[in-house]
């Protein structure tokens, strides 16, 4: 017999994938290390930063640079000026004698001004004209502070460009790192940290180069600085440097004496701008290393995080804090307990603070917040109870119904996780009937059915898993009827030809198992005679013990 025709004929195949239908969400998800999308506009621009000149920096190029933003001719002129400035600098370097140093600085400053008066300076021209080697010369030991600053500034802005431009700056790396040291003037060190941060922001290979030349240790010293802008810049550069995907740098940073405590102090005493940068370091540490996360918790990172979470209005601050917390609660339950405990210090506790984010007008905060909740919801029974009885539940249901797609999906993960018992190795989670029934009563079945139809594999899987749970768990066979009424059959049918094999199989299993040809036989003959496959209430991957003939009579 071919497997076509009556699909209920394939018990073997069906059982084989049964497990995947039963295994509802129940999982914690860390953020993926790779990002594709734009960092949301309301989040701070993370990767690379150009340093703009102060507007009171008196210069002949000011007007030209501003005009160049939307005037092609002005831009061309600016390009020529840059090219000329590089030539002048070369010339100034080769001359000696009285006033040479001043001339050199003058030429250098001109170039820097050209490269810092608008947000898209012609750095490509600077690179093409050979600016980098001379700028490296300008970084030579013993140069004046002013010269070092101007050169590092130029390099910073060149490194803020595209891949090739960043790469062009690599010859300067050893000197940039050298000037991060204690003997440098503070503003020079800061500028070098900035340049290093831009290089690190380019990608993994650049980070490796910086790390192999000892950038981490030098940079870490600046984090201790009492000068706010230095601490801030170095934390930002550091967050770029430890991004991974390897956990090595993050681990190394956390093992430097005093760093965890220093970061906590910054959180307690710093302003929001510094806190945002520190929090991004925390994001990468917590996503990359469990043991370092424990170190941070031990150092007391949670209480100040909660103070900010409960009070800040800045998405730039709230976003990395939510990420950090979400990473922490995606670990073992004890860490979630620690987070809950720390939450007691703010009014409304953890749930209250999260609710504030879920109600924020920013979509990204809602999404990050719901993601945190979904990870807590994958925790212990106590965690599930806590969420279920909190005022977060109404909000999550609302988001599931009305939010934009990405927020909706996070809310669905959270709600789905609330409905199953904790996941244990090698076992399938059981439904938590009380939670499930409550969500069903709030009209969630319809929303999960809608997820099935969306062009998103995870959303479809979430939808189908929830549907499966409803059909399997609700008493008196209400489940399949409810799903039918919400037009779930039609939704499942759309997956029967899906290119994702798992989804295709899951849909087929559910359609056959609950609505297939055998449907109704159980009622007719009594459950004992009917193959457990057909009833769909059998979660094991081998013939059920309640099925015929076990005792062999």
């Amino acid at each position: 017999m071919e497997s076509s025709g009556v699909a209920s004929h394939a018990p073997g195949k069906r059982e084989q994938i049964k497990t995947s239908v039963g295994a509802v969400a129940g999982q914690r998800r860390r953020k993926l290390a790779v990002t594709l999308g734009k960092e949301r506009r309301d989040a701070v621009v993370r990767g690379k930063r150009i340093r703009r000149a102060d507007t009171n920096d008196d210069s002949e190029f000011m007007e030209l640079a501003e005009a160049a933003v939307d005037d092609e001719n002005a831009y061309k002129q600016l390009e020529e000026e840059v090219s000329q400035a590089v030539q002048n600098l070369k010339l100034a370097l080769s001359t000696s004698g009285k006033g040479a140093a001043t001339k050199k600085l003058e030429a250098l400053r001109k170039l820097r001004q050209l490269l810092s008066f608008n947000s898209a300076p012609p750095i490509h021209v600077a690179v093409a004209s050979g600016a980098v080697p001379i700028l490296v010369d300008c970084l030579a030991f013993g140069s004046s502070e002013e010269q070092l600053l101007e050169a590092a500034w130029c390099l910073t802005n060149i490194a803020s460009g595209e891949l090739d431009q960043t790469r062009a700056v690599l010859p300067a790396v050893p000197l940039l790192i050298a000037h991060l040291g204690e003997r440098s003037a503070v503003h020079v060190a800061e500028q070098c940290a900035w340049a290093a941060g831009n290089i690190a922001g380019e990608g993994e290979d650049m980070r490796e180069i910086l790390l192999s030349q000892g950038a981490l240790l030098s940079l870490s010293r600046l984090i201790f600085s009492a000068v706010p802008s230095v601490a801030r810049t170095s934390c930002w550069a550091m967050s770029n440097l430890i991004k991974g995907p390897s956990a090595r740098a993050a681990t190394e940073l956390m093992s430097i004496k005093g760093i965890p405590e220093c970061l906590v102090q910054h959180l307690i005493k710093g302003d929001e701008a510094l806190v945002a940068e520190v929090a991004w370091i925390l994001v990468y540490v917590t996503v990359l290393s469990d043991s370092c996360t424990a170190v941070l918790i031990h150092a007391g990172v949670l209480p100040p995080l909660f103070q900010w979470l409960a009070s800040s209005e800045q998405t730039t601050v709230l976003t990395p804090i939510l990420r950090t917390l979400g990473n922490i609660v995606s670990g073992e339950n004890a860490k979630t307990d620690a987070v809950i405990l720390a939450g007691h210090n703010v009014s409304g506790g953890l749930c209250g603070a999260l609710l504030r984010c879920l109600k924020a007008p920013h979509r990204n905060l809602q999404k990050e917040g719901a993601w945190v909740v979904s990870n807590i919801a994958a925790g212990s029974m106590e965690h599930k109870r806590m969420l279920f009885t909190s005022n977060l539940l109404d909000r999550l249901v609302h988001l599931l119904k009305a939010a934009a797609f990405d927020v909706k999906k996070e809310a669905a993960y959270a709600l789905g996780n609330l409905c199953v018992t904790p996941k244990q190795a090698g076992t399938e989670p059981h439904p938590i009937l009380e939670h499930l029934s409550s969500l069903v009563a709030r009209g969630c079945v319809k929303e999960f059915v809608n997820l099935v139809r969306l062009p998103d594999a995870e959303a479809s899987r979430l939808g189908i898993q929830f549907i499966e749970l409803v059909m399997r768990s609700l008493p008196n066979g209400q489940g399949p009827k409810l799903v039918e009424i919400e037009d779930g059959i039609a939704a499942l049918e759309t997956l029967q030809f899906h290119e994702n094999e798992e989804l295709r199989n899951m849909a087929t299993v559910l359609l056959d198992g609950y609505f297939g040809d055998d449907y109704g036989l159980e009622e007719e003959y009594g459950s004992k005679v009917v193959d457990g496959n057909a009833g769909g209430n059998d979660v094991s991957d081998y013939p059920s013990w309640r099925r015929k003939g076990t005792v062999g009579v």
Partner: protein
């Protein structure tokens, strides 16, 4: 392998021969190639032939196909454990191939190009991008340097196929890493080529031959866009949203009469592109609504006007459905207010929905020519992409926010259509078809008991006024499509139609079972079948007495329908027969019915083709047998004489598809017999123990069932025929595999149930050996549970002494070890009412009688054992069973040529092996009480020490329930 000219010569000779009409040289050539393919260098050699532009086109093409398969099966052997007959391609050769293939593909003639493109795709599925870093840069550079659209097409096609995985795989770090790589490499070139091709389109407006490949290239770009944007909105695309959306808008509103197709079935390149764009904007609407919202109004207008004048020809189907899907997404979104005005809603419904719902010539043709496909689409939901279904989805989408308006509009439309039909039924039958279609389709799809209602019409009134007249029509072959609609309505709303009304039309419905139209008589049979399944309070709505008056004509028509052209193996009809037999009272005519089924069975044996039909046929047979035996066991002899001839045919001719069914029917017959069994059964016993039968996985459950029946009804014959050894041989074979071990236990348990210990004792040592060997080497939860059930059964049937002694005979003290290490720790995982009862009774016996356990040295074991029994008895299953499932052994399921299909009607009833014990809890308490009175003071302290707290409470509660005290 040396790539000498000689070799290439002989390979090319071989490829030529594979095309030979004469099978002899063809097979020889194929065998040669199979062998040669294992040698290193083969792939490169074949690729050389493919590229040999001087060679015969045929040879190159055959070589290309061969190369594609070579790569597909040998690039990477997916499962290292599976015994593969393929030798994988060596790594250096792979690198060579990767270096050559792209260049070759891009320059090859079209037919060869498509083979090489597939080969490239399958290599990519393993190697790209991680192990093939050069591919994407090469593709990009060829793309930017080429102006030949044949080459560009090849590049885009390749990119499209290697990027496809992004649109169906789940998010993962690996996928994102790959996607990021592809975005970095291809997002910008994609936009470049899309814009560049756009300019070429603009400057070649009146040259259709130039335009066509350009449009095809744009369509591929749109598909690649879809893949790259599927997971989330990438930065590059967000930054260039204006450019992309601007282009999309341009093409959605593009028209060029020169590019229209004359063939009504052929989709034009422009429409293909538009459909791909609709999918893209639908994706954005669903997932990136915030970024997309500024463009939404414009696109809604574009798509809207596109739908207003899209033709109803089949060649526009895809465009129409994707465009409607976009509007549906918008209608359900937060931006639904775009459609909020009454006038807009009206226009959508009247100009978009209704025209697309109306039946078309193609549907009518399908109704007549391909009933299977028509039914699948019309009744079984495989129409997800048809215009009709999509139009209904749009109505449902609009109803999310404008339910009242939409419902009232459609009620009016339905009424209007019905009125129009009434004015001229012959001319306007399509109006009624449309009305019924809307009413049925706009109710949620429900299988269970049918739809619960509709807001469009009053079901009962509509049934009486519109449906009944159709069903009562004199000529059953007149306007069959409308009749089929009427039957679909009855089937859909069956639970809403009052019983009396349904009974009144029953005879009418039955008439259509012999209508000429295949769709119609299938629907009639399906309708009856579904009606018979209806339940009120767990009782069938139509009791046997209700059906009795129509039973004769119903069966007569059903069997006649099987003689209609194209319906000899109509599964709907056979399913209905099965349902009638299992629900109606067929007492007096059973034998006659069975004879008819046997005759059909004899026919299909000659050439089994339709698995569904055959399945229901056997179900029907099993239903007759089951129903008749319940009524009169003596009828079995008559049944045997009808069934045996066909059963013999199946077994003798080795009709593998039917064997599992036949074994189940045989078991059913044997079970209804009182011993001794007639000799004909006994003569079948020896062949059924033949190992070749057991090697087919699909046979195993059915053969186990059959063997159980023999053990139950003919144990003496088995013993005297010296077949017990063979039975145990089967048990041994099954027990060693983790996918069949439970089946082995079924047999073993039946042996214990039906054979005396005396008979079994010579084998018992061997049996334990087999079981313990398996326990040692492959311990699974399923196996341990089965082992405990079997051991418990043995204790209950044979007594604890022989069980303990026979185990200890293998190794001194082994019984206690097994108890401590296997039995006690796993007892509480047993599930199933009968199994729990059996195991607790056996454990109680051991606790109160076994000297091994009552020894002073075993006090702790005794305590733990009691703890497990109490857990088993007092804790709910959900609490004690951790649902420790084993990791499924995927391999063992692979390769089911025939799949075992259980017959529900031949189902087996379980029996309680310990009937003498009514209540296992009471039995435990009584036994403990008796025991404790023998050793006063001994057990309370053991209980205190070894029982978990909840179990102490549980036991105390049991004692108080049964008013017993442990001293």
């Amino acid at each position: 392998m040396q790539q000498s000219d000689n070799l290439l010569q002989s390979l090319s000779q071989c490829f030529l021969q594979t095309l030979a009409p004469n099978p002899e040289p063809r097979k020889q050539a194929e065998a040669f190639l199979r062998q040669a393919a294992d040698l290193p260098g083969y792939g490169i050699a074949v690729l050389q032939l493919v590229s040999g532009s001087t060679l015969d086109e045929q040879i190159r093409q055959a070589a290309a196909v061969n190369f594609k398969n070579h790569v597909k099966y040998r690039w990477e052997i997916s499962d290292p454990d599976a015994i593969s007959t393929f030798t994988p391609i060596p790594d250096p050769e792979k690198e060579q191939i990767k270096g050559l293939i792209l260049g070759l593909m891009l320059t090859a003639p079209q037919k060869i190009q498509s083979q090489l493109s597939e080969a490239l795709a399958s290599i990519s599925s393993h190697d790209f991008p991680q192990k093939w870093q050069s591919l994407l840069p090469e593709l990009v550079s060829s793309l930017s340097s080429s102006s030949d659209y044949k080459v560009i097409h090849g590049i885009l096609q390749t990119v499209n196929s290697i990027f496809k995985k992004f649109k169906y795989q789940y998010k993962s770090s690996e996928l994102y890493r790959d996607l990021k790589y592809c975005l970095n490499g291809f997002a910008a070139p994609l936009l470049d080529i899309f814009l560049k091709t756009g300019q070429l389109i603009a400057s070649n407006q009146d040259l259709p031959a130039v335009l066509k490949p350009l449009f095809e290239s744009q369509r591929l770009c749109c598909r690649i866009f879809y893949s790259l944007n599927f997971q989330e909105l990438p930065e590059f695309f967000e930054d260039h949203l204006d450019e992309w959306m601007g282009e999309f808008h341009k093409y959605l509103t593009y028209t060029n009469p020169l590019l229209k197709e004359t063939d009504p079935e052929k989709e034009s390149v422009v429409d293909q592109l538009k459909a791909a764009i609709c999918e893209n904007i639908n994706l954005y609407m669903e997932k990136n609504e915030e970024e997309f919202k500024d463009y939404l109004t414009g696109f809604a207008t574009d798509v809207w006007s596109l739908l207003m004048d899209v033709s109803l020809l089949p060649s526009y189907d895809r465009l129409a459905t994707t465009a409607i899907r976009f509007l549906t997404t918008v209608s359900k979104s937060v931006h639904h207010s775009l459609f909020s005005s009454a006038e807009t809603l009206k226009q959508i419904c009247e100009c978009i929905v209704i025209p697309n719902v109306r039946i078309r010539g193609e549907d009518e043709e399908l109704f007549e020519m391909d009933h299977v496909e028509y039914i699948r689409r019309d009744m079984e939901g495989s129409d997800t992409d048809t215009r009709r279904r999509m139009a209904c989805e749009l109505v449902k989408g609009l109803s999310v926010h404008y339910k009242e308006q939409v419902t009232s509009m459609f009620s009016t439309y339905v009424k209007g259509m019905i009125d129009k039909y009434a004015a001229n039924p012959i001319e306007n039958w399509k109006e009624k078809d449309c009305a019924i279609y809307l009413v049925v389709s706009l109710a949620p799809r429900q299988v269970t008991g049918g739809a619960t209602g509709t807001d469009l019409v009053n079901v009962e009134q509509f049934f009486v006024s519109q449906i009944v007249p159709e069903l009562q029509s004199q000529d059953i072959n007149d306007q069959p499509l409308l009749k089929a609609d009427a039957l679909k309505f009855v089937t859909t709303f069956r639970s809403q139609i009052p019983k009396a009304m349904a009974l009144a039309v029953f005879p009418n419905v039955i008439r259509f079972i012999v209508a000429e139209s295949c769709v119609l008589h299938s629907y009639a049979a399906g309708c009856v079948e579904k009606l018979l399944l209806l339940k009120n309070d767990r009782q069938p709505r139509f009791a046997p007495a209700d059906v009795a008056p129509f039973l004769q004509p119903l069966l007569a028509n059903l069997f006649s329908a099987l003689k209609l052209p194209e319906s000899q193996e109509n599964a709907y009809v056979m399913k209905c027969i099965m349902r009638v037999f299992s629900s109606a009272d067929i007492g007096p005519i059973a034998t006659q019915c069975l004879a008819q089924l046997a005759a059909i069975l004899g026919q299909v044996c000659k050439n089994p083709t339709n698995p569904s039909f055959n399945h229901y046929l056997f179900e029907a047979v099993a239903a007759v047998v089951r129903k008749s035996f319940e009524r009169d066991p003596e009828v079995v002899a008559a049944f045997e004489s009808i069934l045996f001839p066909v059963i013999q045919v199946v077994l003798q001719d080795d009709i593998t598809e039917f064997a599992p069914y036949v074994f189940q029917i045989l078991a059913q017959l044997i079970e209804s017999r009182r011993p001794p069994l007639p000799s004909v059964y006994i003569s079948l016993l020896a062949p059924s123990l033949n190992m070749t039968l057991w090697q087919r996985p699909a046979n195993v459950p059915a053969l186990v069932r059959l063997l159980q029946a023999y053990l139950q009804k003919a144990p003496e014959e088995i013993i005297h025929g010296n077949q017990l050894t063979q039975v145990l041989g089967v048990f041994q074979k099954l027990i060693y595999s983790r996918s069949t071990d439970h089946q082995g236990f079924f047999i073993l348990n039946t042996v214990v149930e039906n054979l005396s210990y005396q008979t079994l004792s010579p084998y018992i040592g061997q049996i334990w050996n087999v079981l313990f060997y398996r326990l040692q080497n492959q311990r699974t939860v399923k196996f341990i549970k089965s082992l405990i059930v079997f051991s418990s059964l043995s204790v209950v049937k044979y007594g604890h002494t022989v069980v303990a002694e026979s185990i200890n005979a293998i190794q001194p003290n082994l019984f206690l070890m097994i108890l401590e290490q296997v039995w006690i720790p796993n007892l509480s995982f047993i599930t199933g009412d009968l199994e729990c009862k059996l195991c607790s009774v056996a454990a109680t016996k051991l606790l109160s009688e076994s000297p091994v356990l009552l020894a002073d040295s075993a006090v702790a074991t005794w305590g733990k054992f009691l703890n497990s029994v109490v857990t088993l008895l007092v804790r709910p299953e959900e609490e004690r069973v951790n649902e420790e499932t084993d990791v499924p052994d995927l391999d063992e399921f692979v390769g089911y040529a025939t799949v075992y299909a259980q017959l529900h009607n031949a189902g087996k009833r379980e029996e309680d092996p310990v009937k003498e014990v009514k209540d296992p809890k009471e039995y435990l308490v009584n036994s403990l009480m008796r025991l404790s009175s023998q050793y006063p003071g001994k057990f309370p302290s053991i209980i205190l020490q070894h029982l978990e707290a909840p179990n102490q409470t549980g036991l105390a509660q049991l004692c108080s329930t049964y008013r017993r005290t442990l001293v």
